[in-house]
């Protein structure tokens, strides 16, 4: 490990309704991989986005190579040699790899406004060669797999001669072998003296790749420890810190054996392959898997949002045809999207209207006129029972915090009288305090006899909440675990269990520019 390259101290940042960073600090040395861990909402990404010039800090200092610096925009960060690879990939699908790598600083041709495409391609090729990446710079970015796109982003980042490389959850969507490839490249840069910030949720990776680990919690700095000597358990206890969600799964003593929902042989293209499962009354069934494993696709298919190629759905033993979300609602199925702002809520409408949105039939008279008194009563009832923090039911949903927005969505589906609730990443983007409330609510709903499917990418969440866990990988169910037998390792093993058939589908992938299978 080399000299101290970067020191961030006393960093403060607030967003409307959230104090994201509270006197956070971070130190990075040249030639080290420094991992930043913490639960969702701990402030890791926010802190690094400040370093990358995407957010402006409210307070604090950043010292880089011995000087105090100011990073007003992403460009300034790049010029300083600070590059960030974002969680959501940031390539332009319509451009070639080379064009993506050099966007914003293209080598110019004979005239200063002309592009030198040859040079762009040649320099990118050289870059790929140096990283031992077998990719053709002239391929369109849209044709690559997520893993390959990530490699291209790394190539882009290092082409700035970056001194600091920030990676925000780079392995979230990668397979084991792809992760190995990524680690190889990371070690390559570490050896050259680049300081690497590595944000990850996957604790099992930490010891493999990190030199030091900094733990954050609720926007604050907790501690920095040496990766070689620290025990994973200690990191977890630092991350969780307080006993906030102690709600261990309350598996009913006499499990209700009534099957509420049964799915047989669902298929849709390569996204869903032969998926079958059963959901019991009053059960929380966890759906675990990596990003893109097909869990959301299954949920959307059951909810009638996407068409199926084949498969049967039974509600309480009766075979049903679900061709649209309207059919699903009529059969008592509600879906709470992972992207509630886009698919779950009408942000510009008030709490009352959102709660009534899925069940206006109940609230209209024979002429289609809304019975305002009824919607108001219902909305007020759910604001009370779900403890939605809002100045009133006339408040626009846009102005509520993430946790309260999620409660409004829950209220909407309870109003619609649904027996089966599918929660897709129910706590994404919700801060720690509100999370435990959502968990309590899920437990209460299950206790009242609602059946819940909970899709979550956070293993601790799945483990804490589920009575039973189904694990998916590449559109298939690769295993089912009871609450008692489930462990993080066990789930991860199933979640990365790729089948041989898939490998043959991809045809010749022994070279760089394989084409993504959709």
């Amino acid at each position: 490990m080399g000299d101290v390259l970067l020191k961030m101290e006393g960093i403060d940042k607030s967003f409307p309704g959230v104090h994201a960073l509270d006197k956070a600090q971070f130190e990075l040395r040249a030639g080290e991989v420094h991992t930043l861990v913490g639960e969702n909402g701990a402030g890791k990404s926010t802190l690094m986005k400040i370093l990358a010039g995407i957010y402006a800090k409210d307070a604090g200092t950043i010292r880089y190579q011995g000087k105090e610096i100011d990073i007003p925009n992403p460009r300034a960060a790049q010029l300083l040699g600070i590059s960030m690879i974002h969680q959501e990939l940031n390539l332009m699908p319509h451009l070639t790899l080379a064009q993506n790598v050099f966007v914003g600083r293209e080598p110019r041709g004979v005239l200063p406004f002309m592009l030198d495409e040859k040079k762009i391609n040649a320099q990118t090729q050289a870059l790929f060669d140096a990283m031992h990446l077998r990719l053709d710079p002239r391929t369109k970015a849209a044709q690559l797999t997520v893993a390959k796109q990530q490699m291209v982003e790394i190539a882009k980042a290092v082409s700035f001669n970056s001194q600091i490389l920030i990676m925000d959850e780079p392995t979230a969507a990668l397979t084991e072998s792809e992760i190995e490839e990524l680690f190889r490249i990371i070690r390559q840069f570490r050896a050259k003296g680049v300081g690497i910030v590595y944000i990850s949720h996957r604790l099992e990776e930490l010891k493999q790749i990190s030199d030091r680990i900094t733990v954050m919690r609720d926007g604050r700095y907790v501690d920095t420890v040496d990766a070689a000597t620290v025990a994973i358990d200690r990191i977890i206890s630092m991350m969780v810190g307080r006993t906030i969600y102690e709600s261990a799964p309350e598996v009913p003593e006499h499990p209700n054996e009534e099957i509420v929902l049964e799915v047989r042989g669902l298929n849709r293209g390569t996204a869903i392959r032969d998926v079958s499962f059963r959901l019991k009354k009053g059960e929380i069934l966890g759906f675990a898997g990596l990003m893109g494993a097909g869990r959301t696709e299954v949920a959307r298919a059951i909810f009638g949002a996407d068409p199926l190629d084949s498969g049967e759905i039974y509600i309480k033993g009766q075979k049903v045809e679900i061709k649209s979300p309207r059919d699903a609602v009529q059969h008592g199925i509600g879906y709470l999207s992972e992207d509630r702002k886009r698919y779950g809520l009408a942000l510009g409408l008030d709490v009352e209207a959102n709660i009534a949105l899925a069940s206006f039939d109940q609230f209209t008279n024979a002429f289609g006129i809304v019975k305002a008194g009824d919607t108001r009563q219902t909305a007020e009832r759910y604001v009370n029972t779900l403890a939605i923090k809002t100045p009133g039911i006339q408040q626009r949903v846009r102005n509520l915090s993430g946790g309260n927005q999620q409660k409004v969505v829950i209220g909407k589906w309870l109003t619609a009288d649904t027996d089966v609730l599918i929660f897709d990443e129910p706590t994404r983007g919700i801060d720690v305090g509100a999370k435990s409330e959502i968990y309590r609510l899920l437990n209460d709903l299950a206790a009242q006899g609602k059946s819940i499917i909970m899709i979550s990418s956070e293993l601790p969440e799945i483990l804490r909440m589920s009575h039973r866990i189904v694990v998916m990988c590449e559109g298939r169910i690769t295993g089912e675990l009871s609450a008692a037998e489930a462990t993080q390792e066990g789930i991860m093993r199933l979640a990365t269990q790729r089948t041989v058939m898939v490998a043959t589908d991809e045809a010749p992938t022994n070279n760089g520019s394989s084409v993504e299978q959709k």
């Binding site: 940031n90 332009m92 600083r105 592009l115 053709d136 010749p508 760089g512 520019s513 394989s514």
Partner: protein, 342 residues
């Protein structure tokens, strides 16, 4: 070896999946339309009529070039038609009323369009007003200004004629090829307007394919946030794209004034829709990131060939709108089908 092989397969895929397919389709459609009309009417495939189609495409084609860039950024420009008219009126004022030399009048016209485009760009990128609204406003402003300016001389809305400067009309209506063609075919002449359009298209294709502006046009349309995070000043480049659209509108204004030998202040509404239709038929995606100049030119030809053919078949003008509308919907539907498949 393996790498070379994949390269080939990926290129082959991209031909079938990308806008190239739409372009081929559009080109095939143009030929089919042409053949159908040739079969239906003996007056269609005559040299005079073909020149007529070429001439009818010229102004819309130039307008559509600018719109192509804007739509590739996932934007829209509703103001190109009336900005064209405003530019024509400004040229008329400069040449006929203020008696300035013809070249100065031309510069005034093109500059007018550029300024209008620049304002569009600034309103969109700095005031963050959606392109649809910003350019809808500019469409009305330009229309109003064109009418106001045309009353300066007489007090009433009247066309401004270029009768004192016959060379202005010859600019687009004479032909540089006459000295070569005339001895062989005395009645055949391809007016300059057609060459101006093709010239402008070459410039546009160069800008889109070979310059930084073109690259950022595609990049912004493909993923604007990623482009911003790559350190590109998205606000400035977007402004530049709208200003470029304005340059083409200004040029179209000069061309239409020259062709009609007058600046008609009431003209122009509806031209923006023809231009957008040409772009869309040519395979440019309204969701951004994809589009070609060649496609747009083919799209413009499809529209004018259809209009021309239907007129020759004595189909009333009202029905010509209906047919063009159906073609636009069909073109976009084919594009959607293609996307769904890939």
């Amino acid at each position: 070896m393996a790498v070379a092989e994949t390269t080939i397969t990926t290129t082959r895929r991209s031909i079938f999946q990308s806008s190239a397919a739409q372009k081929l389709l559009a080109f095939a459609a143009l030929i089919v339309i042409f053949l159908v009309f040739t079969f239906l009417s003996p007056y269609f495939a005559t040299p005079e009529n073909i020149v007529g189609i070429l001439l009818a495409t010229a102004v819309n084609g130039v307008l559509a070039l600018g719109v192509t860039f804007i739509i590739i950024t996932a934007g829209i420009d509703l103001s190109v038609g009336t900005v064209m008219t405003l530019s024509a009126v400004m040229t008329g004022l400069a040449i006929t009323i203020y008696g300035l030399p013809v070249p100065v009048g031309i510069v005034v016209g093109i500059l007018t369009g550029t300024i209008a485009g620049l304002i569009n760009g600034l309103v969109i990128s700095r005031m963050r007003i959606p392109p649809f609204i910003a350019t809808l406003g500019m469409m009305m402003i330009a229309r109003g200004l064109a009418l106001v300016l045309s009353t300066l001389e007489t007090g009433t809305v009247k066309p401004i004629y270029f009768n004192d400067t016959p060379e202005f009309r010859l600019l687009t209506m004479s032909s540089v090829l006459d000295p070569i063609i005339k001895p062989m075919a005395p009645n055949f002449s391809v007016p300059n307007a057609v060459f101006i359009m093709f010239g402008a298209a070459l410039v546009a294709a160069f800008i889109l394919g070979k310059t930084v502006l073109g690259r950022y046009t595609v990049a912004m349309g493909s993923n604007e946030e990623a482009t911003r995070l790559s350190g590109v000043n998205v606000a400035n480049w977007k402004t530049a794209v709208y200003a470029l659209g304005g340059i083409f509108s200004g040029l179209a204004g000069v061309m239409i004034a020259s062709r009609l030998n007058s600046a008609q202040p009431a003209l122009g509404v509806g031209y923006e829709l023809d231009a957008i239709a040409a772009v869309v038929i040519g395979g440019t995606s309204l969701s951004g990131g994809e589009g070609t100049i060649l496609g747009t030119i083919i799209g413009a030809f499809i529209i004018s060939t259809l209009t021309n053919g239907l007129r020759i078949m004595n189909v009333p003008q009202e029905w010509q709108f209906v047919v063009t509308g159906l073609i636009v919907i069909l073109a976009v539907y084919l594009d959607i089908l293609r996307r769904r498949r890939s």
